[in-house]
Symmetry: D2
Subunit: 158 residues, 4 copies
């Protein structure tokens, strides 16, 4: 799988009176990290929504295990990759590392969600496009989704 890496510095406002990161903040980091991973397809969030007619990729199940606390000004690396592809859902694994040590890991199970064809405001899970799976399954990161309309194939290789 393609592993996306982000480097962050822990901010003052992310920490609590115990001096450590307030744990819900990690899920904000997870959410943005998944967005960052999906941009590796070559599609911006806006482009992805438009191209496939989805409303987004809402979370249905999440979890995390906290091993070592992080503190203000710590530099951390977040590694994110799809751990498992379902038909209409997928699971992203996130690992947060500090000086090479795993400080926490967690997952987000999300669905590929389009507007429901009959019920206004509701959503319906739809199959994840093969080209998205292909792109995020390629650990080299060279397989992206073509965005040109005249493309015969939907998958391009940089």
């Amino acid at each position: 799988m393609l592993v996306n890496r982000r480097t962050l510095r822990i901010e003052w406002g992310q920490c609590d009176p115990a001096g450590i990161v307030f744990y819900p903040q990690y899920f904000i980091i997870f959410d943005t990290s998944t967005g960052s991973l999906f941009e590796r397809t070559g599609l911006s969030p806006r482009a992805m929504r438009k191209k496939y007619g989805i409303v987004g990729i809402p979370v249905v199940d999440v979890g995390a295990t906290f091993r070592i606390p992080c503190r203000f000004d710590d530099e951390v690396i977040i590694e994110s990759e799809v751990e498992e592809w379902g038909r209409t859902s997928f699971t992203v694994r996130h690992r947060v590392l500090k000086e090479g040590t795993l400080v926490l890991d967690g997952f987000e199970k999300r669905v590929w969600a389009a507007p429901h064809p009959e019920r206004t405001g509701a959503i319906r899970a739809e199959p994840v496009p093969a080209e998205i799976i292909a792109s995020l399954s390629d650990s080299t990161g060279v397989t992206t989704v073509a965005t040109k309309d005249d493309d015969k194939s939907n998958i391009s290789t940089k």
Copy 2:
């Protein structure tokens, strides 16, 4: 003016490593307090948007002065009232009190914003309805905005 009061307990996640409320949290409290004040018109946020065709009451100017820090588990009272009515805008004054002492105060200047008639996605400031002004100017709180369609007048007195 009508003064709306809310009582809150400071939460762990609102505080920073210095053990005091992280100041941006007060603006989240301000935002919700303005919503709470406007419900005193008798209209829910949804009803107000629908009745007047507005997209909301976005903030254009804010400020706050911090006098005394608040800590986890402190009980505070937030007093909110419209301080000044403009034609298409208004200013809400918020005061936060702890054990009767002013710990901070601030303001939000907001506009009465409808969708722009020509530019998609843009907004246009429109006059604040007289009945909204009447309701929130009545310190007794009895003047509310009628929501029944068959109402002759838009202002009712409880």
Copy 3:
């Protein structure tokens, strides 16, 4: 087990551009709900830290399953109870209900954490006091922890 209930209205700032609650916000709600549950022992957070010499009850494992989205201005009830007592840890189950329907549930596994006797800044898990377990295991809510120093027993019944 003792079930603690809180009623909340979903705030504007808790929702995302899809119009639904941004999921990390639920963990902020969980965190405060656990605090609220533990106050049913009769001890404030401050008193509990002082009485038992703990630094807090940090989270080691969390998870949640999202079933139905919540939107701005929805009224929700959060029900929280200890689901399982370990020796030095415990698991709190949270359920969020909207109009009687379960919209999401989740858990927080937390440890009873005292300062480490040797390593400055580190913590050590210690046994959860029997009187805390007794109090939060009593579904009637009448068993609280006595706070008077002259109390023979540490458990009182209201």
Copy 4:
């Protein structure tokens, strides 16, 4: 004055149901931007606290004017500089730009706060060190504060 620039992408969780940044989020950005500016002195937050025996630089007065909304995935630049030096306080001006256009600006007035010598837990404003003023007043950014103990002078030039 030294102007510090940060580039950020607006995150999903920073936006509200109107699709624009929830305004308190800008103050979180301000807070981190001030931290980033002060690191240009060559001192980490931790080093600055230790070197000068301060507890931090808490905010006493803030304000912001919002001109153009920012949306999810917008790239913004935050420019921060000290606008005015008081004796024991200073004001940081923040400007947020999108594609070269000012979208909002604001300020934070902060104090140089040391522990109060007599009252436990309280703070006392103290004079801002001349070398901090010198460093952040140098628009070239080359004047930093020496951190070596054996340094004769406290100001170094890279």
